[in-house]
């Protein structure tokens, strides 16, 4: 009886050792393959097949202005702001506006281009108000043929 018990224990230890040994060997082989051809782990393409859903958190109060800037979009405060928020930023980023500068004529031609090619709706009587806002808040700056280097972050280079 005692012998049988010891035998079963030995069997258990035997299989346990074999399993551990096999896992180590498999890992070793895997590591060698990976070393030779790192792209084998990407054969499934899993890491590239989807990107996570766009997360949009908008502040509840869409009219909130802080320091002269509309909080939800980053646009400057001014007459016509909310018309721009409603008509422009439902399709594209407000950065499309804030990084650009143009005259009334320039902004009008951009609107026309968006209507002709990008499915922008007719702005009706709001068009002039929107253009007036854009041309006032985002007017061209005279830059000349080359600007002075600006916004330099000075640092000590050893």
């Amino acid at each position: 009886m005692e012998n049988k018990n010891i035998l079963s224990k030995i069997k258990l230890i035997y299989w346990f050792t074999i399993s551990i040994f096999s896992i180590v060997i498999l890992l070793f082989i895997g590591a060698i393959f990976y070393h030779i051809e790192p792209s084998i782990i990407s054969f499934t393409f899993n890491n590239n097949t989807t990107i996570s859903e766009t997360i949009e958190v908008k502040l509840e109060d869409n009219t909130l202005i802080k320091d002269g800037i509309h909080v939800n979009t980053g646009l400057k405060e001014g007459e016509g702001l909310m018309l721009v928020v409603q008509n422009c930023t439902s399709c594209h980023s407000a950065k499309m506006i804030t990084q650009n500068r143009a005259t009334k004529e320039g902004w009008r031609s951009m609107i026309k281009w968006m209507q002709q090619t990008q499915n922008l709706w007719s702005l009706g009587e709001n068009e002039e108000k929107i253009i007036a806002y854009l041309a006032k808040q985002y007017a061209p700056q005279k830059k000349g043929r080359r600007s002075t280097l600006s916004n330099i972050e000075w640092y000590t280079l050893e």
């Binding site: 097949t49 989807t50 802080k66 500068r101 320039g106 499915n119 080359r146 000075w154 000590t156």
Partner: protein, 406 residues
């Protein structure tokens, strides 16, 4: 202005709320790493695995550029590659069923290939410079509309794939073929499925070059999603918009391809130079082909303060579209005198070239280092802005960095 990264550093909703001066609604149910839209830019950096020094120009569609000092690597890693999109990046890529169809009026018979069939063609790897046609747009005066790129819409990664020429020969093209157009899986910003975001292409002569490839790998790995996974046409040295991403169809045309952003004013400059601010009719605008000679100072970062009598190591890259860069010079006296830099040969045709030099400054003071490349035809970068054009393309003016010697 406080930037997005400062908010991330502060890292807590309280800090965000304090900065905005308001309470965030549903704060308790917000995931930990979520920052309001104004600040978080929809997680661009993590979603696309991008370097923290990349600058976002636009979040719908995604457009972001590098800064000069992060482009110092010989081979641009994916994390530092500019992102330029005309449409919405496709979200689901079915790799098992992805095919590339070669069609158009000038193919013998239309043919469709699976990815594994494409990978059976002879494989080629080239380091290829891709620069956005509008790189440098932000400097033009009067201003041009569009994304206001400064200097970082350029990269030179290592692309692997099959030659477009081998594929065209396999399909068989007719004698009247002159142009290749691409179609990709990205969707139009309006969401209209009948509209293409962008469908440009290249003339047959460019398509037949050794280095023009249909790539399925970049820097030895799958192409990152933002850069065209699983297939990208890569035509180095030309405006990067010619290198179509997520491609599933190529058309062989008997005329200049007329897909989205081939016509009108897109990726075109006046055929004859114009006075700044001129309105140019569409029929007087010509398609941009090879990009002009240009260079970047990638080390040191602008703004370095160094001690007197210290020798400064300076280096960067230079490229010239389809051509080679033949000479590289620098000036520390605002262009009054120029000195020669060391210049390496390119890894292969259409790859940018490493240049380097050592500079000793004569006395204390404020300096600018200006870098100027010259191509194999003797054409140099201008020191001030080149010819104005309505859409603000092809600004190859010298790159400048600021240095103080104390």
């Amino acid at each position: 202005m406080t930037n997005r990264r400062d908010f991330i550093k502060k890292g807590s909703l309280a800090a965000i709320s304090a900065a905005l001066g308001i309470d965030i609604v549903f704060a308790e149910s917000m995931p930990k790493d979520l920052i309001p839209i104004l600040l978080q830019e929809n997680g661009f950096y993590t979603k696309f695995n991008k370097d923290k020094d990349m600058v976002i120009l636009n979040d719908r569609p995604w457009n972001a550029e590098a800064q000069a000092h992060i482009l110092d690597d010989d081979i641009t890693p994916a994390s530092k590659m500019f992102v330029r999109n005309n449409g919405i990046i496709p979200e689901k890529i079915d790799i098992d069923n992805w095919t590339l169809t070669i069609a158009g009026e000038s193919v013998e018979t239309s043919k469709t290939y699976t990815l594994s069939e494409l990978k059976k063609f002879p494989k080629h790897t080239y380091q290829l410079t891709l620069e956005c046609g509008g790189n440098g747009r932000s400097e033009f005066n009067p201003p041009a509309k569009g994304n206001q790129w400064s200097i970082g819409a350029v990269s030179c990664a290592k692309w692997t794939g099959l030659r477009l020429r081998d594929l065209l020969n396999d399909v068989g093209i007719k004698k009247d073929a002159v142009y290749i157009g691409y179609y990709g899986a990205d969707t139009h910003l309006s969401g209209n499925p009948d509209k293409q975001a962008i469908s440009r292409g290249i003339p047959l002569s460019k398509a037949m070059m050794d280095e023009t490839i249909i790539a399925y790998a970049m820097n030895g790995e799958n192409i990152p999603l933002a850069h065209g996974f699983p297939l990208r046409l890569v035509a180095g040295g030309w405006p990067a918009s010619a290198s179509g991403k997520w491609i599933n169809k190529l058309v062989v045309r008997n005329k200049v391809h007329n897909g989205a952003k081939m016509g009108g004013q897109s990726y075109r400059v006046p055929c004859e130079s114009v006075e700044p601010g001129t309105k140019v009719p569409d029929d007087q605008m010509c398609i941009i082909e090879s990009m002009p000679v240009k260079s970047l100072i990638t080390y040191p970062k602008s703004g370095a303060i160094i001690g007197e009598n210290k020798t400064l190591d300076v280096r960067g890259h230079a490229w010239a579209g389809d051509l080679k860069v033949q000479q590289m010079d620098f000036s520390i006296d605002f262009g009054a005198t120029w000195q020669r830099c060391e210049l390496n040969a390119p890894q292969n045709k259409l790859a940018w070239q490493r240049w380097s030099t050592q500079i000793n400054f004569p006395k204390k003071g404020y300096y600018e280092i200006w870098a100027r490349a010259t191509d194999e035809n003797g054409v140099m970068q201008p020191m001030i802005l080149p010819g104005w054009n309505p859409k603000g393309y092809l600004n190859n003016a010298c790159h400048r960095i600021a240095i103080k010697v104390n």
